[in-house]
């Protein structure tokens, strides 16, 4: 597998400063500053509506920021002159709803962007595709169509599809939120393996145990701002802010939170 580009190693893969994003009059992001170092795994947690998915989608410009700058793998994606397609080639994105191409097989899904964007020849694209499908544990599903795969399998194909482009950064937008509970483990397993290879990862997730175990740093967002960030042991284990504690108590032990509210 292609290792992360050394050009960015040691520097920051993602640098965000003064990021604002509004949808109409609704200000979703109210000034975000943070970075992801090359090779780092950062998990973004927070209540729904806190703007974490929007933040992620701004990084590869699926949402256009209202203000602020975002530098990814050395390119300023907020600069109108930048070739965004060229930058996106170096950023892998995994969606909550998988978004596999239903008219293509698993192999076809992993091959198409290699063929059309990277202009790899068919044999090379197929070799890379098979390699990546094997890596996510789906070597036997190459000729299955998305509708024939379980949610967990579809999401792993989606990860293989992103990896086949040889990205320098991987973005994960709640990758396990649409999965049946018993399928979550497979996807998290693949992501854990990916983190071990030194891939730079920015992960929006509700899986606290994954964040605790895999993340180098956890960012807690609420109300469109970063409330606190730091090593998982501190942010999840011993949060400094009341909002973080409230959120964590609800996520980690919903039953206890309800009992607490009832009293």
């Amino acid at each position: 597998m292609t290792s992360p580009d050394k050009e960015t190693a040691g520097g920051n893969a993602v640098e965000i400063s003064g990021l604002h994003k509004s949808f109409g009059t609704n200000e979703v992001l109210r000034g975000i500053d943070f970075h992801v170092a090359a090779g780092e795994v950062v998990c973004v947690i927070g209540p729904s509506g806190s703007g974490k998915s929007t933040l992620l989608r701004c990084v590869n410009l699926l949402e256009e920021p209202s203000a602020g700058t975002i530098r990814v793998v050395g390119a300023d994606v907020t600069d109108r002159e930048v070739d965004i397609d060229a930058v996106r080639r170096r950023i892998g994105m995994v969606f909550q709803s998988f978004n596999l191409f239903p008219h293509l097989t698993a192999l076809g899904n992993v091959m198409i962007a290699q063929r059309k964007v990277l202009k790899r020849d068919k044999a090379e694209a197929e070799r890379v595709a098979r390699e990546n499908l094997e890596r996510v544990g789906l070597a036997d599903k190459v000729s299955s169509y998305p509708a024939q795969l379980s949610g967990g399998q579809q999401q792993r194909v989606a990860i293989a599809r992103a990896l086949a482009m040889g990205p320098e950064v991987m973005l994960f937008d709640e990758p396990t939120s649409a999965l049946d509970p018993e399928l979550v483990g497979d996807v998290l397993g693949v992501m854990r393996g990916l983190a071990e290879t030194g891939m730079t990862m920015l992960v929006v997730t509700h899986e606290m145990s994954f964040a605790q175990e895999v993340a180098d740093r956890v960012v807690f967002m609420d109300g469109g701002v970063v409330v606190e960030e730091g090593p998982p042991a501190r942010v999840i284990g011993d949060p400094a802010h009341e909002r973080t504690r409230t959120f964590l108590s609800r996520v980690l032990d919903p039953a206890a939170a309800r009992v607490g509210e009832g009293e």
């Binding site: 699926l62 996106r88 969606f95 978004n99 964007v117 509708a147 992103a162 482009m165």
Partner: protein
């Protein structure tokens, strides 16, 4: 059943099931009576001579196939080809972010959907040669008929294709773009192939409509060799003073349209199964 059936008392001792049986029986009875009356009253000899005259029918072959059916197929195919290409272009203009493209597409669709197809045929066959003396629409009658059909089909298919493109989930475009595809590349490789799978059933229906509408070529000046099924049937019915040619021409249409309709229904069913 342990519970008392509801409504037993209200319907005067007659159960719902019994009433349904009676109603069904009545309808079948009526059907049989009508059938008997028709069979008894019809003059079968005259009917057979006029509508299913074997001698007349035999005299139609092979020309009704080699000229009539063939030309119907050719005019339909040319019209469908123009409509498909034109429809895709107009649909993309309709969805464009450039306002003048959208204005043109909307105008085109509204105009050509609002006009009778016959008027378009007369416009292409009579109006264009009058307006631009010396112009020749390439392909002769096939070109004229195909163009007239294509102009109208473009408007209908543009709306169908647009609906197909809009039916592809937004996440598909996002996934394609986030892999580094340009907007155009994503449309060509990801969105349009899916849109066409969605609209294959309505497009097949459009093909059936075009096949039938190709009969309007009757109103263009065409040579004997250019006659399609309807004109062929009408001409021979006149020559021979018999209705059989029209019946045979009708059967020829059904030979094309019924299999196409069945195909459309099957594709639709398959599609519904394929979606989760």
């Amino acid at each position: 059943m342990t519970a008392e059936p509801i409504g037993t008392a209200a319907s005067g001792g007659m159960s719902r099931r019994r009433r349904r049986q009676l109603s069904l029986g009545g309808q079948y009875g009526l059907f049989v009576v009508v059938l008997v009356v028709v069979v008894a009253l019809a003059d079968w000899g005259t009917l057979r001579l006029n509508f299913a005259n074997w001698e007349v029918a035999k005299s139609l072959f092979p020309d009704i196939i080699t000229i009539g059916l063939r030309n119907t197929a050719v005019y339909t195919a040319v019209g469908f080809g123009i409509g498909l290409g034109g429809g895709l272009i107009v649909a993309l203009m309709r969805l464009s972010s450039v306002p003048p493209y959208r204005w043109f597409a909307t105008g085109y669709i509204e105009i050509f959907r609002g006009l009778p197809l016959l008027l378009i045929f007369i416009f292409v066959g009579v109006g264009v040669p009058l307006a631009f003396p010396g112009t020749n629409i390439p392909g002769g009658a096939a070109g004229q008929a195909g163009l007239a059909l294509g102009l109208a089909a473009t408007a209908y298919m543009a709306e169908t294709i647009r609906a197909g493109i809009e039916a592809v989930p937004k996440g598909q475009l996002e996934a394609a773009r986030s892999l580094g595809m340009s907007h155009g590349r994503a449309m060509r490789s990801i969105i349009i192939p899916q849109a066409f799978r969605i609209i294959i059933p309505p497009l097949t229906n459009e093909l059936v409509l075009l096949c039938k509408d190709s009969s309007l070529v009757l109103f263009l000046g065409i040579t004997l060799e250019q006659r399609e099924l309807t004109k062929f049937g009408r001409d021979l019915a006149g020559e021979q003073g018999n209705t059989t040619p029209i019946i045979v021409a009708g059967i020829c249409y059904l030979l094309i349209t019924i299999p196409l309709s069945l195909l459309a229904r099957r594709l639709e069913a398959r599609q519904r199964r394929g979606q989760r």
